[in-house]
Structure formats: structure tokens, C-alpha cells
Symmetry: C2
Subunit: 381 residues, 2 copies
């Protein structure tokens, strides 16, 4: 079996379970805690690769589901793989597509072998198996691949959870075998993360974690959260889910979330995050700031000559006023999406950089409390 | 009367009327020939100010008509003027709005005093006079303002041209008086360009030029072209219009055009250009290249791992393949607009930089012929 991606926990916060660590991938070292910008279809929406370089994310995320449908695996290979497509030579993780098959596909049928589904783009039929999804990600040349899992909705019929988790575990085993074959065959040296499921049932989450931990995954994700449950439920679930996962491997909370959710999860020992929130919010004119959220179209900003966030060092804040950003947004100028996206990504990336520094200084709790109390001061909308 | 913006012709091509020159504005020196990217509503669509810095245009253009309607003159002042709004500290020229009143406004009524028109955005009524348009541009703090003119359609009833040009000339005189007042009052040190009109009638163009030349404008524009006439008509008109304008002042061909049109006009002694072509084409997936135009959605590019233009040094060509750009365009990703816009602007800016270098080397004709013959080779679509 090929060696796992090197992962070292370098600092532990004394008062919380927060930790600073580094994960070495074929395209560079990922320093954690880290937030991954989302580039669903092979590009972070509106952000050129050289802008991404300047923002300096530790890793970016793209989507197997979307890329398999378009441009397709063969074409991805022909075009030089995922790094060449994205115009980004840093670490890339791809979601397996499990979540998207359940949330986006027009129709789907689940069997022990995998899932057959209809494309949301053109209605064409496709199938995913645990093996085909690993193959696609290996063919793309990703740094971290994710196993195919079944993502349950919230709330869910309790009796449905156990059989679903059993299948997710059988799929995880098959995915890992295929990944080991691919790594041994050469040409791909990425890692594979397993995904813990089990809805919000601690016993099932525990059983799932224990069985995954017995398999040699490069990292472990918490899946099936941020699917519509209230914030308190999410936080409680992270409280018990995170410590179940092996401490000597990276922990990744999928699809989460608001700054407060990230700060909470870091305190629980989570290392990696991804979420469409900063990029999607930018497209609806919402900016995240150290003093709370700003809804840029609001009339109160029309004559405001100050930046979005007085404490922000991002390129948008360094040269654009809220009044200018509002004018661009109201005028439906693409520049407003570009400028707000860059600001929001900078905010999320800085939040995690700050968390890492605070952990290294042994003062994570203080950092979290200061950020949260500033954000509650209510400069925002 | 305040001094005119310094303008020096530094090189003349021996075989054509092409010239290299420099125009000094409050926000820097404009080296010509130069192409001005268009930022209609106060931003070059999809391009952040720092990207504009990297592209390095000599001057950018924005639109008085659009900015007066939204955000409005008072708000422009409150937001710190046009440079602060655009996030760009280099030279800015604004079109007077004459062209937009005639092409965009829902309704308009022309009088000797000016024009009353209805906003294409919300139907509100507005009026422009030669004086109000200078005031707006001075309030914005532009480096070069344009006079209000009447832009005739093509073709036009011949008997309509003389009276229209007479009014444009009276308006030019009034605009100049107001600009001189504003400069003497302090707080604004920009220049004002007059606009030659006269449809495609050489005698009327001559009369208009002579009368404008007797007024102390900082520069002279050729207006009323690129309004739908065939390319041969445009080229012939530039042939006779350009040399009529004072040689000791910058000449600006408004709203033109294709690379071939620019190369032709430079040979006639034109110094400045603006056009929406590179930015608007990007939004429809068309890229300008040294080998002709590329329509990125075409299936032939789907598996193409090479850049848009093998001879291009732009950031898009340095890291994205045609296949990737096609995938982003087909997927309706905003990144495709950003990447194609930057490529197209780079192409137009390089074209004019190359023209300037060729003029300085005394080999402009050769340069023009080489560019045109490469573009006719037909790598494009």
C-alpha cells in the first residue's frame, strides 16, 4: 500500500481542542486550520487563477459531479488535468459527487453498486460507483479525493440511518481499495479521505468513525451536516462528531459554513472547511466583515466613501468605497461580483489564518471570543 | 485662460502620417497612439482596478451620460470623484453623453440650449446643456472632458448636416467658455476636447474642423463615425477627417473599432481610440488574437490544450487553454468573461504599444502590414 499523505499536528491549543497542523500534498503543504474556496465547475466564480495566487488559499475545492458531467473525465485528461483547467498549481481537493447526486440530479436510483442519475444540465444518464468516482478524481490528478457516500437529508427517518451508513462504509472500503490500486499503479499520488455519516445520532456516528478509522484513509470528513439543520444542532453535532475522528489525521467539516460555525468547529479540533458562502453571498451583494455582514444594495451605503471593512487588508477594501461597490451592484456590473468575491474570500482565509496564529500562540479561545464579539457589534445590516 | 494640457509629438513615421506623442494630464502622461478601455458605468466590466494597473492602459474612458443618471453628479462628488469610484488613479477621459443621448435615451428633444431626454434606466427626465456637461465632468474630476455634440446617424439626410454642425459648433464654443471658467476657478485642471462632426461630407468636416481649430481645445475628436457605416466608408472618412484636425494637438477617433480600423487610423495621424469591442466581445465569447478572431464556444476548441494566442503574453494565455476557456464559457462561469476581457484588452493595448514602437523606429507601415497579414492567416473562426 502506498504511504499516506504526511500530516503533522504542530500546535495544540491548551484550553480547547483546536490544533495547528500541516498536510503535505503533491502540490504543496496545506497549513491548517484552513478554509477552501469552492470552484464548483473548475473555477472559483469570477476569480482568475492569478487572483487566487494572491489570495493564497491553502487548498481549493472543486466538484467531481460537475466535472464528470462537463467537461467529462476524458476531456479533463485531454486538457491536462484539474490544475491546468483551474489555472491554479496549489493543492486541490474534489468532493466525490455524493452530495450533488442527492441534491442536484434530476432523478437517481441507488443500488449496492452505486448510483445511477440523470444530469441536471441535459438530462443524460450517468452512474457513479465507489470505484468510478476514485478513478475520475485520480484521472483529474487531484491532491485529495473524497469517497462516494450517501448524504442523508435533515431531518431523516431514524430507521433509514443505519442501513445507509452501512452502505457508505462498504463503499468507503471499495473506494480505498481502488485508490490503493491507482497509487500503486503510479501516475497519481493524491490522498483519499473517508466520510463519516450518521445524521445527528452520536452512536451511529461513533460506529461509522470507528470503522473508518480502521481503514487507512489520509483524512476523515464529517459529512451530512449543513443540510438544513438549525445552527445549534450543527454545533452540537460537531461537538460529538469531531473528537470521534482519528486525531493523527486531518479532519474536514464539509460544506460549513458561517464564520461562527468555523470558529466553533476549530475549537472542536476540525482542520479543514469548504463552503460556497463567501462566493455565493458575493453574487447576492452580501459582504462578510469583522463588524458583521453588509448588504451592499442598501440605500444607507449609497453615499458612503469608506471601505467595506476598516480592518480589512484586501485589495477591494484598499481601493473601493461601499458607495462605489453599491453603484456597481445596482448597475449589475460584473465587477461588483469580482470585488465582493475577493473581499469575502479574503475574509474567510484571514479568519482561518488568524485562528492558526492564535492556536500557535496558545490563545485560540481569546481569538474566537474577540472575533465573535466584534462581529456582534452590529456595524452590518 | 488656463494653459492647455501639454502635448508633444516626439516621432513621425517617414512613410505614413502616423506619429508618437505624449499628452500630459493631471493623473499622468498618456503615450500615444493609445487605446482606451471603456468603463461605461464607472468600471471596466469585470475588471478590478488592480487588474487595470497590470494591463497598463494609458487612459481609460467612462461615460458622462451613464454616470449622470447613476450614481448622479452629487453622489459622484460625495464618493470622491471618478478616480476613486473607478479604483484607478491613471488618466480618465469621459465621453460627453452626446452620443448616448441619441443612441440610448428613451425620448429626447433638442433645442438651442441643449437636450432634454428620458433616462433609459427609469424613465426620469434629464437635461444636458453644453455647460452642464462640462460642469458634470469637472465635478467628476476627469482628466479629459468632451464637449456636448449632436451625433448624426448614418446615413443622414444631407440637408440636416449643416444646421446640426452649426449647432455643435455653437455648443463647442459655450462648452469651452465654461471649461475655462472652471479651470480658472480652480479645483479642476483637466482638458477639453472639441468634436468634429459633418457625417461623411468632406466640405462640412473641413468647415467644422477649421472653426474648432480656432478655439483653444486641448484636443480634437472625430465624432459621428462608427455609427453603422461600412468599413470602406469609415476608412475613407478617416482618410480625409484626420488631417483636417490641428497637428499640434491630440486627435481622437471616437468609438472605433476593429484592429484593422485602428491600424488604418494611426497611419492617418490619429492618436487616441476607444471602443467597447474588446470588452463586449469577451462577454459573447469572442477573443481577438494575432491570427484572427476565436469564437470560444465552437466545438473545435473543446479538446484544445493550447492558449488563445501562441504569441500573446497576457495572464490568460499564460495559464488557460482554449479548452478550459470554452468549458467556462459553456458553463456560464463569470470567470470566462474576466479571462476573455483581460485577454482582449491586452491584445488592443499591445497593438497600440507595438504601433508606437514601430513609429518610433520609423517602420510603421511594415508593422501594420505584418499584423494584418498574420490576422488574415485564418487560425481564427
Amino acid at each position: 500500500m502506498a504511504a499516506l499523505l504526511p500530516f503533522t499536528v504542530t500546535h495544540k491549543d491548551p484550553a480547547t481542542s483546536a490544533r495547528a497542523a500541516s498536510l503535505t500534498t503533491p502540490h504543496g503543504v496545506v497549513e491548517t486550520p484552513a478554509f477552501m474556496p469552492v470552484g464548483t465547475c473548475g473555477t472559483v466564480k469570477g476569480v482568475a487563477g492569478w487572483e487566487l495566487d494572491r489570495l493564497g488559499p491553502q487548498m481549493v475545492l472543486s466538484n467531481t459531479y460537475h466535472l464528470v458531467l462537463r467537461p467529462g473525465v476524458e476531456r479533463m485528461v485531454q486538457l491536462g488535468g484539474i490544475h491546468r483547467l483551474m489555472g491554479w498549481e496549489g493543492p486541490i481537493l474534489t468532493d466525490s459527487g455524493g452530495y450533488q447526486v442527492f441534491s442536484l440530479a434530476a432523478r437517481r436510483a441507488l443500488t449496492e453498486d452505486g448510483v445511477v442519475f440523470q444530469s441536471h444540465i441535459d438530462g443524460s444518464m450517468h452512474s457513479f460507483s465507489p470505484e468510478s468516482v476514485v478513478d475520475a478524481q485520480a484521472d483529474f490528478g487531484v491532491d485529495v479525493a473524497m469517497v462516494l457516500d450517501e448524504c442523508l437529508p435533515f431531518p431523516v427517518e431514524p430507521s433509514a440511518v443505519d442501513p445507509s451508513v452501512d452502505r457508505t462504509l462498504r463503499w468507503a472500503r471499495r473506494a480505498l481499495s481502488r485508490a490503493e490500486e491507482r497509487r500503486e499503479a503510479g501516475g497519481w499520488a493524491g490522498g483519499l479521505f473517508g466520510i463519516q455519516q450518521g445524521s445527528v445520532d452520536p452512536d451511529i456516528r461513533r460506529r461509522c468513525s470507528d470503522q473508518l478509522a480502521a481503514m487507512a484513509f489520509d483524512g476523515y470528513a464529517i459529512g451530512g451536516l449543513a443540510v438544513g439543520e438549525p445552527s445549534e444542532v450543527l454545533h452540537e453535532a460537531v461537538d460529538f462528531c469531531a473528537p470521534m475522528l482519528p486525531r493523527e489525521r486531518p479532519r474536514y467539516l464539509m460544506g460549513v459554513g458561517y464564520p461562527e460555525d468555523l470558529l466553533h468547529a476549530v475549537a472542536c479540533g476540525v482542520d479543514l472547511f469548504d463552503c460556497v458562502l463567501p462566493t455565493r453571498s458575493a453574487r447576492t451583494g452580501k459582504a462578510f466583515t469583522s463588524r458583521g455582514e453588509v448588504v451592499i444594495k442598501n440605500a444607507r451605503w449609497a453615499d458612503d466613501d469608506t471601505p467595506l471593512d476598516p480592518d480589512c487588508g484586501c485589495p477591494t477594501c484598499s481601493r473601493y468605497s461601499k458607495g462605489a461597490l453599491r453603484h456597481f451592484f445596482i448597475s449589475k456590473e460584473a465587477t461588483s461580483v469580482v470585488l465582493l468575491t475577493i473581499h469575502n474570500l479574503y475574509f474567510f482565509l484571514s479568519l482561518m489564518r488568524g485562528a492558526r496564529e492564535a492556536i500557535m500562540a496558545g490563545r485560540y479561545g481569546e481569538y474566537r471570543d474577540r472575533i465573535q464579539s466584534n462581529r456582534n457589534m452590529g456595524l452590518g445590516d
